[in-house]
Symmetry: C2
Subunit: 360 residues, 2 copies
C-alpha cells in the first residue's frame, strides 16, 4: 500500500507545523526529563560523535545532543517547523554543529552514517502514527553498524481497569439515539420522508463514535484493577516494520481488587534508553506512560471500554486475546480486536466476548 | 491550480460521509422549510420534468423533487453517503424516479440534459467550501438552455456588530502568551535551551488562531449596530467561477445605535428561489441566514472581530473595503482583507485600519 504524500500531510503532518503543538510536547516534563537525562547522563555516547535526530520538530533533541558534545547533528523535519528549528539552533549558538534539513527522512540524503539515532517517535499506545516506520528506515540507511538507538527499547502494556466513563459513553450514545428517533418522527411528519431505513447505519456510526473509539485518559493507578501485562517488546536496533505492522498477543491478568467492575482495558507504553550491548548506557533511563498520580504525560493511556461492565473479584483471571493492526484507509491509525474470557476464581468460565475498537 | 482529489477528500468530503453531519443539516428547520416550500409551492417546475441534484447527501432534495412530480431525478453524491441515499430512495418507493450516482459531479456523465438543477451548495458566509464551482460546472454541462436553477439567486451581506466575544478572544490570547513566557523561562532554567527566538512566530500563530480567524456566531439582531449592506449579488443562472473566485466591495454602513461599540463585522447570506424570467416561480421563497432570534440556522453568521473595539455613535459612517479570496493551500477556505475607515457624524475621519482574517 503506497501512501499519497499530500493526503499524509493533510491528515498527519499538518498538526506538527504548529508551534502550539510542539510546545505541548516540550511542556511534558516526564517526556522532557527522560530524554534530557538520557542524553546528559550518557555523554560518552555523544562527545565527538555524529547524531541523526529523526523528526526534530522544534529541534530540542538535536540541540541537547550538540550541547552534550556531539561533533555533528543532522536534524531532519518534514514540516515547515524546520524553519523554526533552524532559528532556535542559531539563537542557541549551535549552527556549526546542528544542521537542520527540511524533508521527509525517507527522501533526504546525508553525507555520512551516524553514531547515534535519536528520535521521539512514540504515538498514543506507542504505535499510533506509525512514525516508527520512518525511524526504522533511517536506522537501516544511516546508522553505523556500531550505532546506538535513543531510545533503545520499547514495550506495550495492558491492564484491566474500572472507569465511570464507560457509563457516560453509553448514556451519551443513548441520548444520541433518542434524539435520532425524534428526528425520524419529525422528518416524516413535517417533510414527508421516512428516514427509518437509516436508523441502523446511524446507530452503527454512533456506536463506533461513542463506544468503539479508544479514549485518551489519564488513569488514576487506583483504577487499575488487575495485574498489568506486556503485550509487545521491541528492540529498536533490530526490529523490522513487519514486526510491528501487527501486534498480536495472548495475555492473562489477575484481578487484584475485591468486588469491583471490569469496565475495560488500559493500554500504555514505556521506552528505555539503555544504549546497546557493546556500548551500554552509563545511566539507564526509562520513560513510562503508565497510570500515575504525579507523573502523567501528554500520551496518557488509551482506554478500551466494555459495554456493559462486568462484576469481578480478587483472584478472577482475565484471558485477553489482543490483535492490533493498521486501518486500511490510513496506515497511521489502528484497529484493535480485543477478545476476552473471564475465569472466575471458582474455576467457572464466563462466555468469551469479542470487541472491535478504533484508535483514531 | 489543480486540486489533488485525495487531499480534497481528506480535507473536505470526509465529513459529509457521516450521517451525523447530514442529520445536522436535515435538522435545520429554516433550511429545510425553504427548500421544501420552494419545491412544493412550485410544482409546475417539477411535474413531468428532469432534475439534477448536485451533492445529494442523504438524498432529501432528490426525494422531494420526485414527490413533487418529477419524471426523472439524477442524484449525484461524491461520498459513500450515496449508498445511504440509495437506501432512502428505495425505502420511500422512489427508485423508479430517482437515480443515485456515486461520483464527483465533475466526473460523471448523464444520459440527458435536465430541466431543473437543484443543490444545497452554500457554505459559511455563502462561498466557503467553494462548492458552487461544482454547481456551475454541472449547470454548464447538464442544464438545458431553458432550465431553472434552485436556488436562482444568492447575496452576501455585511453589517457592523458589537460582541463581547472580541474581549474574550483578546484575553484568551493574552493568557496563552503569558503561559508561553512561563514556558520560555522554565525551558531555559530546566533544560538549558533559550526558546525566546520563537516568541514572535508563536505570537503570530496564536494571534491568527485567536484574533484573525472568523468565528461562527448566532448573532442576536440587537448586536447589529448599523445598517446591513450587500457585498455581492449572484445570479445562479449566469455567474461564472471567475465572478466568485474573488469578492471585492466598497460598502458603507451607518451606525444606528446610540453610543455603542464597533467590535467587528458580521457576514451572512441569503438565497432566493425565483425560477427564471421566462419561467418564474409561482411562489418565491427566500432562505436567509441573517441574525434572528427564532430562525437561526446551522450557518449562523461569520464574525470578523476588531481588536480593540472602537466607540461609535448613531450617525457615524463606516466605510468598508472588503476583499475575499481563496486560500492558496486549500481553495475551499477563504482569506479576507477587511479595511475600514470611520467618518464621525461630526465629519472627522478616524485613521483607516486594515485587518487580515481567515475563514477556516
Ligand atoms: N518521516 C518523517 N520525516 C521527517 N520528519 C518526520 C517524519 N515523521 C514525523 N516527523 C516529524 O517528527 C516530529 C515528531 S514529534 C517530536 C518532535 C521533537 N523531536 C521533540 O522531541 O520535541 C514531528 O515534528 C513530525 O513532523
Ligand atoms: N463536486 C461534488 N460532486 C458530488 N457531490 C458533491 C460535490 N461537492 C460536494 N458534494 C456533496 O454535496 C453535499 C452538500 S451538503 C447538502 C446535502 C443535501 N443535498 C441536503 O440538502 O441535505 C455533500 O454531501 C457533499 O459530499
Amino acid at each position: 500500500a503506497t501512501v499519497d504524500k499530500g493526503v499524509d500531510f493533510a491528515n498527519y503532518f499538518c498538526t506538527y507545523a504548529f508551534l502550539y503543538h510542539q510546545k505541548d510536547m516540550l511542556s511534558d516534563r516526564v517526556r522532557m526529563d527522560a530524554y534530557f537525562n538520557s542524553v546528559f547522563n550518557n555523554k560518552h555516547h555523544f562527545v565527538g560523535k555524529t547524531v541523526l535526530d529523526v523528526g526534530t520538530g522544534s529541534g530540542i533533541l538535536a540541540i541537547w545532543s550538540a550541547q552534550a558534545g556531539a561533533k555533528k547533528v543532522y536534524a531532519v523535519e518534514a514540516t515547515k517547523m524546520a524553519k523554526h528549528a533552524h532559528e532556535l539552533v542559531k539563537a542557541n549558538n549551535l549552527q556549526d554543529v546542528v544542521e537542520v534539513i527540511e524533508g521527509s527522512i525517507e527522501d533526504i540524503t546525508l553525507p555520512e552514517k551516524v553514531d547515534v539515532l535519536i528520535s521521539e517517535w512514540m504515538g498514543y499506545f506507542l504505535l499510533r502514527e506509525s512514525m516508527f516506520d520512518s525511524v526504522i528506515c533511517a536506522r537501516d540507511r544511516w546508522l553505523k553498524p556500531t550505532g546506538v538507538m535513543y531510545p533503545s527499547h520499547a514495550r506495550m502494556w495492558m491492564a484491566p481497569i474500572r472507569s465511570e466513563v464507560a457509563d457516560h459513553k453509553m448514556s451519551e450514545y443513548e441520548v444520541c439515539m433518542d434524539d435520532w428517533h425524534g428526528f425520524v418522527t419529525e422528518t416524516k411528519s413535517y417533510y414527508g420522508v421516512d428516514m427509518s431505513v437509516l436508523t441502523k447505519p446511524f446507530s452503527e456510526e454512533q456506536k463506533k463514535y461513542y463506544l468503539q473509539n479508544s479514549l485518551w485518559n489519564n488513569l488514576d493507578p487506583n483504577q487499575v484493577v488487575g495485574t498489568a501485562t506486556i503485550l509487545k517488546e521491541i528492540d529498536c536496533l533490530t526490529v523490522t516494520v513487519d514486526d510491528i505492522i501487527e501486534v498480536k498477543a495472548n495475555i492473562s491478568s489477575t484481578i487484584t481488587k475485591e468486588d469491583t467492575r471490569l469496565c475495560g482495558f488500559g493500554g500504555w507504553f514505556d521506552v528505555h534508553f539503555n544504549g546497546r550491548m557493546e556500548n551500554p548506557a552509563e545511566c539507564e533511563v526509562e520513560l513510562t506512560t503508565a497510570p500515575s498520580i504525579d507523573d502523567g504525560t501528554h500520551w496518557g493511556q488509551q482506554v478500551f471500554l466494555l459495554h456493559p461492565p462486568v462484576r469481578v473479584n480478587k483472584g478472577d483471571e482475565i484471558l485477553v486475546n489482543f490483535l492490533m493492526n493498521r486501518s486500511k484507509e490510513n496506515h497511521r491509525l489502528m484497529n484493535v480486536d480485543l477478545g476476552y474470557e473471564i475465569k472466575l476464581s471458582s474455576g467457572q468460565m464466563l462466555p468469551p466476548v469479542r470487541n472491535k475498537f478504533y484508535i483514531e
